[in-house]
């Protein structure tokens, strides 16, 4: 069936939330609820259109060449340099459209409840979040890297604004600044790469620069540097080592923002960028290796930091960084194999490589759902207890049955327990990395790191769950319960409060619960996309089309040649959960005692200090850069301006000296005039003599 007419409407998708941005931004103050309903409506409309188009694209509706493209010249910078704006739809775009629009809609709905108490500030919230959704959708629909960069910067702006939503808190203002500046460092790299690519191809359109003839026609070294620098942008945006430290701070924003921007969508932009660059990256296997190493190291490092974090949102933030690292690891490992296969003409290696690509994108989708779920659940908890410190929570299961259940589902999913969604994609990633060991021994190390990460993930997620929902009731729990009971009695009989009896009367209102339930279903089920039709990996492919049915996958996972990998990772996850269970629920292991042992204490503190990165960033910013600027300021004032003022002083001084000639005595002047006249005459006389000139009368 021909869907061209439908695809041509794709430009409307980002426009819809932007209309909401304009309406709420300009008129929000006059609207009841400060524009929340408008935002929900238009974002949902964008979702409907996105899902329709994604469905069409994923079920074979795309044109022959595998993508749909539409563009116009935005600005002509010179005869060789034209910047286009356009729409590019292929399977990857479709996947991102689903993820972004779906999660965005749920989060905006959830926000109606979560931000309910913010009063007039809701207008700003819904304005900014509408803008974010619009530009994020624009980012995934872009048809060239420059357009992508434009939206890339704009989502960064929205992230900045929303992290600093409670700007009067110094910590929020500072976190927003940090997020903007650290990602800006990545963006500078991105810009360098972009300029290199732009100059190489005189275009940044995907359809142009991905064609093998074009790639073959350019300098491969420059190409390598170009994609290397562009990957730098991905490091910043997706909070990878060494630019990862902004994401934990970004938790200063509202939890909905953390869920949408800093877990499900914007931070995925880096992964998306790498996926987009894949056709270029496969010509630079060194960069692929770098991507894999950075991914693996980040995944491990972030997971360690999550182990002892006292703050529920921080745990999730570290976990996000770690999971993003997984995605990069998958893309890098797959890409590396693909690059080698491409070089050697080894079809088998290329297939294995494209599986890595698919695994990365698959994990991106699954992670978006379960991490949004986890964040929103955490938000619901914070909404209730008004604290983010897990030590003050505890025992919340009785008060928040639904939340505790959906959070448990999310935790199981991220831990990788079969058959929840996280299991499938994480396992595919581990398999890809394991495959890679044949080509580079580095991947063996990365595999070990990844399995350890899986173990730690299971441990810290369940540590979080047990600390929050199980055990003794913490002070914040008691306080909140008492407060809410009182509140409930007060409002008894009135129906404006959406507390459903079946959820226990301490639960969040239904606008918050409904998205949680939908996401929980997805956290369980989105992994089965592997089995639908000809399977996820057959659609999200890169160049090599192949189809596998459910039987193939089940064999591969559970009784095939490489099924031992599945059992290793499952064992890691179960071990992690068990350890958390015995430590934080049964208290068989005395965690504080271990933490205070002299051998462990420094490590424990180092993790709390995030390996010193926070200090390191501050040092670079405050001491090196600011110190240098102060020194330069001194130089400017004292040396450069000193020279200027010194010169003017010199002239003033000499003037002051010379004016002594003005004695004010008329007769002195007359004497000087007379003397001068005589002197001139004598001078003339002798000069003429000297030159031998005779003057005749």
């Amino acid at each position: 069936m021909d869907y061209t007419g439908l695809f041509e409407l794709a430009w409307i998708i980002p426009i819809l939330p932007i209309i909401s941005f304009l309406i709420v931004g300009f008129l929000g103050q006059k609207i009841k609820g400060r524009g929340g309903i408008i935002a929900v409506g238009l974002v949902a409309a964008a979702m409907v259109l996105s899902l329709t188009i994604a469905y069409a694209a994923l079920t074979g509706g795309l044109p022959e060449q595998g993508y749909f493209e539409q563009s116009f010249n935005w600005v002509v910078l010179g005869s060789d340099f034209t910047i286009q704006m356009g729409i590019y739809i292929d399977a990857v775009t479709a996947l991102m459209l689903i993820v972004v629009s779906f999660v965005a809609t749920l989060v905006v709905i959830y926000s109606l409840g979560y931000m309910h108490d913010e009063g007039d500030r809701r207008r700003r919230y819904f304005t900014e979040i509408s803008l974010f959704v619009g530009v994020m959708l624009g980012l995934v629909l872009a048809n060239n890297f420059l357009e992508l960069f434009i939206f890339w910067e704009l989502v960064g702006l929205c992230s900045y604004l929303l992290i600093g939503f409670w700007f009067e808190k110094p910590s929020a203002a500072s976190a927003a600044k940090k997020a903007f500046l650290v990602t800006r460092v990545g963006d500078v790299m991105f810009l360098i790469g972009l300029v290199i690519i732009f100059n190489l191809f005189h275009s940044t359109s995907y359809s142009t620069i991905f064609s093998p003839e074009e790639i073959a026609g350019v300098d491969q070294t420059w190409l390598m540097w170009g994609v290397f620098f562009m990957f730098g942008g991905a490091i910043g945006k997706s909070a990878q080592f060494p630019l990862h430290d902004w994401l934990p701070d970004a938790m200063e924003g509202p939890t909905t923002v953390s869920a949408l921007i800093h877990a499900a969508t914007m931070v995925k932009a880096g992964v998306y960028l790498v996926a987009r660059m894949f056709p270029l990256l496969v010509h630079a296997e060194n960069v692929m290796l770098l991507i894999a190493v950075i991914g693996g190291v980040t995944a491990f490092m972030a997971a360690t930091m999550a182990l002892n974090s006292p703050n529920i949102k921080r745990v999730l933030a570290y976990s996000t960084i770690s999971q993003l690292g997984y995605m990069f690891l998958a893309l890098g490992a797959g890409g590396y194999m693909f690059a080698l296969g491409l070089e050697e003409g080894n079809e088998e290696l290329m297939v294995a490589g494209s599986l890595g690509f698919a695994a990365g994108m698959f994990h991106l989708m699954n992670h978006a759902f379960f991490k949004a779920l986890l964040f929103l659940s955490a938000g619901s908890v914070i909404h209730y207890v008004h604290t983010e410190e897990m030590a003050k929570m505890g025992g919340l299961r009785k008060h928040m049955k639904v939340t505790s259940l959906v959070m448990l589902i999310g935790s199981l999913s991220i831990a990788g327990i079969v058959p929840l969604s996280g299991f499938w994609s994480k396992d595919l990633i581990l398999e890809t990395v394991w495959e890679g060991r044949l080509d580079s021994i580095i991947f063996l190390g990365l595999y070990v790191l990844a399995v350890l990460t899986a173990f730690m993930t299971a441990f810290y997620m369940f540590r979080m769950w047990f600390l929050t929902f199980a055990g003794e009731e913490g002070e914040a729990t008691k306080h909140a319960a008492a407060h809410h009971d009182e509140h409930h009695v007060d409002s008894h009989g009135s129906d404006e409060h959406d507390h459903k009896e079946s959820h226990g009367h301490h639960e969040a209102p239904w606008v918050m619960l409904a998205p949680l339930i939908v996401l929980a279903i997805l956290a369980i089920g989105s992994g089965f996309a592997l089995f639908i039709g000809s399977g996820f990996t057959s659609v999200i492919y890169f160049e090599i089309p192949y189809t596998h049915d459910a039987g193939y996958w089940l064999e591969k996972f559970f009784w095939g040649e490489s099924s031992f990998l599945t059992y290793i990772s499952l064992a890691a996850a179960v071990l992690g959960i068990a350890l958390a269970y015995f430590t934080f629920y049964k208290k068989r292991v005395d965690a504080p005692a271990i933490a205070s042992k002299p051998a462990v204490k420094p490590l424990y503190n180092m993790l709390l200090k995030r390996y010193g990165f926070t200090k390191g960033y501050d040092y670079v910013g405050e001491k090196i850069v600011y110190g240098f600027s102060l020194a330069l300021d001194w130089f400017d004032r004292k040396i450069i301006d000193g020279l200027v003022n010194g010169f003017s002083k010199l002239i003033q001084r000499s003037g002051a000296g010379l004016r002594r000639a003005q004695t004010g005595f008329v007769q002195t002047y007359a004497g000087v005039v007379a003397g001068g006249a005589v002197a001139m005459m004598l001078l003339l006389f002798f000069l003429l003599k000297l030159l031998g000139i005779e003057v005749h009368p």
């Binding site: 002594r660 004010g664 005595f665 008329v666 007769q667 007359a670 007379a674």
Partner: protein, 104 residues
């Protein structure tokens, strides 16, 4: 040697002496009126030169110029005296040593 029988140099020496006397008066005298008078001496020294050369060269232009110069001297004295009168009225002095307000 011309009609008068007196050599030109004598006239020139006379006018030079007159000029130097005038100049000395201008430079040395403290009284502004005496200075003004000394200026007259210097002008007249120039006039003598003009007339002498005029006769010597048999060219009347010099005598015409001398007449102009006399007229100019008269005007100058008129204005100069007026200034001095005003000065005297304002500052109660015509001593040049006291008139140094333009000093740096």
């Amino acid at each position: 040697m011309d009609a008068t029988g007196i050599p030109l140099n004598w006239f020139l020496i006379l006018s030079a002496c007159l000029f130097v006397i005038g100049l000395a008066g201008v430079l040395i005298k403290r009284n502004a009126i005496v200075v003004l008078m000394s200026i007259e001496l210097m002008l007249n020294a120039a006039n003598i030169n003009l007339v002498a050369f005029s006769v010597y060269n048999n060219d009347p232009t010099g005598q015409v110029l001398a007449l102009f110069s006399i007229g100019l001297a008269a005007a100058e004295v008129a204005i100069g005296l007026a200034i001095l009168l005003n000065l005297n009225r304002l500052r109660d002095t015509v001593d040049l040593n006291d008139l140094t307000i333009l000093r740096w």
